[in-house]
């Protein structure tokens, strides 16, 4: 067993903090009946639960990618252990074959030969120009190169059967949870009689398993999504991009939330000059078109990073801090909308009788805010949070294209698209990187949008 040193990047810390906060909020919700009823309504929504399952799968990938370590280098016994400069994650360790088995350059999905011709020495003859065999993709086929389709289909079939078995086990467990015995539980799930949309979750889970298990199996023998310019497996890049997207979507809300909630409530509750000042601040920030404000702020951040190279010991650390700075900037530019909403709602709430009564009893302002106003604003906050996520994931890709996104060395959907977009012009076109990035992003954003709709419907009955 090789030794390793745990590395905690700032973004890891925030991600796990978010997980802890999520659990905390979950406990809080369980104790607050109105919120619990609303979440029960989300739980009964089939589309909502199906998309939540997909989102959870993405989050799981992101969390695995947020446990970082540095592997120990092989040294002589007795010497002090040295650690590799490269920071790896648990996901990297799981996907070691994907990460290490690089080809020379592009290759198509399921290809056995390289995209570009090379001069190869053939024993007995002179050198010839041909498409060389891939080092790893389809190597187990040996001479039978033309049997890719049959071999891949067979492998996929075997993996599919395995996935089906795994799914049956999971479904059996779910059925046992739902009913007194599995058969009754099974019937109730399929007739849709459960309060929680078990059938939607199980169907989605089945689809995910049927997709992921064969993909995982096949990726050990082929480059399922092809390889990119430097021969890296595209599937690996897609997996790594998930974390970047999640961080942009989640940490940004973590940045903007305290600001929006605090300032919004304070402005609405105290009114007067406090309100004027806060309104002025958000009107000014809101007046600057957000892309331009982000561009200006990111440019300045780049200057800071470039002029202080001594702050960062590894490239991963620098990329990580730049990602966090980007989240911070996105947060600063996007809190104004929620703040205005909360201010308006607080203005309405403070005129209600129970709050006037609390004031008459001499309850302090902060106590009123925390006990009476904040809980009544929670539905707005929750709706805003889930609605923002998908927009932020999409924004990351655009910002990276404009050159004001994440660090170019950091894998993200934006950098993948940016690197691959010129390759469509090649003959034949190199489409796989682009399609893989767009498809993964589409699934993530679609799931987030559908989930957001379910949450909004449950928390805001007026919405159509």
């Amino acid at each position: 067993m090789m030794g390793f040193q745990i590395v905690v990047l700032w973004s890891d810390m925030l991600i796990w903090l978010l997980v802890a906060a999520g659990i905390g909020v979950g406990v809080l919700i369980a104790k607050t009946p109105p919120l619990l009823t609303a979440w029960r309504r989300v739980g009964a929504n089939r589309v909502g639960m199906a998309s939540a399952t997909v989102l959870l799968a993405f989050i799981l990938v992101g969390l695995f990618d947020s446990l970082h370590y540095r592997a120990a280098l092989d040294g002589k016994p007795g010497q002090k252990v040295q650690y590799a400069v490269e920071v790896l994650s648990a996901l990297d360790a799981l996907a070691t074959p994907l990460r290490t088995r690089s080809e020379k350059t592009y290759s198509e999905p399921f290809a056995t030969r390289l995209y570009a011709k090379e001069t190869v020495d053939v024993p007995g003859r002179d050198s010839v120009r041909e498409y060389p065999r891939l080092k790893y993709g389809g190597r187990h086929l040996g001479e039978h190169e033309d049997e890719v389709a049959a071999d891949a289909a067979f492998t996929a079939f075997r993996a599919g059967v395995l996935a089906l078995l795994g799914w049956l086990a999971l479904a059996g467990m779910a059925a046992a949870v739902v009913g007194r015995d599995s058969v009754i539980g099974w019937q109730r799930i399929w007739r849709g009689e459960t309060a929680f949309a078990w059938n939607a979750v199980l169907v989605t889970l089945g689809l995910i398993l049927l997709g992921v298990v064969p993909l995982f199996w096949l990726s050990g023998q082929y480059h399922v999504f092809g390889t990119d310019k430097v021969g890296q497996d595209v599937l690996y890049q897609v997996l790594k991009s998930v974390r970047t997207g999640l961080i942009i979507g989640l940490v940004t809300t973590l940045v903007m939330l305290p600001m929006a909630v605090l300032l919004g409530i304070v402005a609405g509750y105290f009114r007067g000059w406090v309100d004027d000042v806060i309104q002025y601040i958000y009107t000014v920030l809101n007046s600057i078109p957000s892309v331009l404000l982000i561009a200006a702020a990111v440019l300045m951040m780049q200057v800071v990073i470039d002029t202080h190279p001594q702050w960062f010991s590894t490239a991963a650390e620098r990329a990580d801090l730049r990602l966090l700075a980007l989240c911070f900037i996105l947060g600063i530019t996007s809190w104004t909308g929620l703040c205005r909403l909360l201010r308006g709602e607080t203005l309405k709430l403070r005129e209600l009788e129970y709050i006037q009564a609390a004031q008459a009893f001499g309850v302090s302002s902060w106590r009123i805010i925390i006990r009476h106003i904040l809980p009544n604003l929670m539905h707005i906050v929750i709706i805003a949070l889930v609605m923002d996520f998908s927009g932020l994931v999409l924004a990351e890709a655009v910002l990276s294209y404009v050159g004001i996104g994440v660090d170019p060395t950091m894998t993200s959907f934006g950098t993948m698209i940016n690197n691959a977009r010129m390759e469509l012009g090649r003959e034949p076109a190199v489409w796989w990187s682009l399609v893989a990035a767009f498809a993964a992003m589409f699934i993530l954003v679609l799931a987030a949008n559908l989930f957001a709709d379910a949450v909004r419907d449950a928390f805001d009955p007026r919405a159509v």
Partner: protein, 325 residues
């Protein structure tokens, strides 16, 4: 009315000053001009003399806020704040890194930007409002359901995909129009068709959904029930009553973006090689041309504030219940 507009303009002034202060703080306080010089010059060529020269060429060698060496009014005017930030109010944006006058550059680039943005804006509005109206008319049917599903799917697709996919399919595979570029005169339409088409399509998802909610909100109002109770046919109810009333929030809601059309679109312009303000901004960001980015931030804010004022005026125009107070 005139008094109202003047008062509204005066309200805008403190906000503009605020924007100006924010940009000033962002560009000159977060980083000193020395940092910017180091970044622009690159690691190899950084010497104290080179930094001084770089700053002097751009007028960044003055003190930030107060010039203690000068006397009288010059104490305030011979500073970076006055020279670089205050003078933006009168349209003096200084020079870009390549030495060109930014104000003139902006003037010559609004044309191409508008040539793309204006048709896109008008066509999108027509397409999305009619689509939303159709969905609302067939509300709670399978057509409505699948229409909304389509909208959600379309808004989940990255804007980059529409552009890259459209360019690939229409220009490279079908060879219908040139992939990118810009022409003048009558030939220009060949370059404009694709960006406008893609702009319209990429906006369908979210706008249609938004307008549909507005229509549906209107459908459930009392006057609609009254109209139906009178025995009006559904089509008449829809086109005579609902459409007209729903258009008020829709039209006043989009007024705010009209001035911003001058800025063009960052993505579209840079992908299609349109020499407008959007691609100007992107080039400036990539070249780290601070003066240009600063100017664009300021102009963007001015246009947005103009849009807000126009929105307020349009409210008072379409809704007589709102008085000019």
């Amino acid at each position: 009315m005139l008094a109202y507009i003047i008062r509204r303009l005066l309200y805008a002034l403190p906000i503009l000053i605020g924007v100006n202060l924010v940009t000033f703080a962002l560009f000159f306080v977060v980083n000193t001009p020395d940092d910017m010089a180091r970044m622009q010059l690159g690691v190899k060529r950084v010497t104290p003399e080179a930094i001084q020269k770089w700053k002097a060429e751009r007028g960044y060698d003055k003190p930030l806020l107060v010039n203690a060496e000068a006397s009288g009014l010059a104490m305030m005017t011979e500073t970076i704040f006055f020279q670089k930030s205050v003078r933006m109010f009168v349209g003096d944006f200084g020079h870009a890194e390549d030495g060109r006058d930014i104000a003139r550059e902006i003037g010559s680039r609004t044309g191409p930007s508008l040539a793309i943005a204006l048709p896109t804006f008008i066509l999108s509005l027509i397409v999305t409002v009619s689509f939303a109206l159709t969905l609302a008319f067939f509300r709670a049917t399978a057509f409505d359901f699948w229409g909304v599903v389509l909208c959600v799917a379309m808004m989940s697709i990255s804007g980059l995909f529409y552009i890259i996919g459209g360019q690939y399919l229409i220009s490279k595979v079908w060879r219908l129009v040139p992939i990118s570029g810009y022409g003048t005169g009558l030939e220009a339409w060949r370059f404009l068709v694709l960006p406008v088409l893609i702009g319209v399509i990429s906006g369908i998802g979210s706008s249609t959904r938004w307008y549909r909610t507005i229509f549906l909100e209107e459908v459930s109002k009392d006057y609609v029930r009254t109209a139906r109770a009178k025995g009006l046919p559904e089509t008449l109810v829809f086109f005579r009553h609902i459409l007209r009333n729903a258009l008020i929030p829709i039209l006043t809601g989009i007024v705010v973006v009209i001035p911003l059309l001058f800025m063009g679109s960052l993505l579209t312009e840079s992908f299609f090689g349109i020499p407008g303000l959007g691609s100007y901004t992107i080039d400036a960001i990539n070249a780290q041309d601070f003066a240009v980015v600063r100017s664009m931030v300021f102009i963007g804010s001015v246009l947005y504030i103009v849009g807000l004022i126009l929105t307020d005026i349009s409210y008072t125009l379409v809704d007589p219940r709102i008085r000019f107070e």
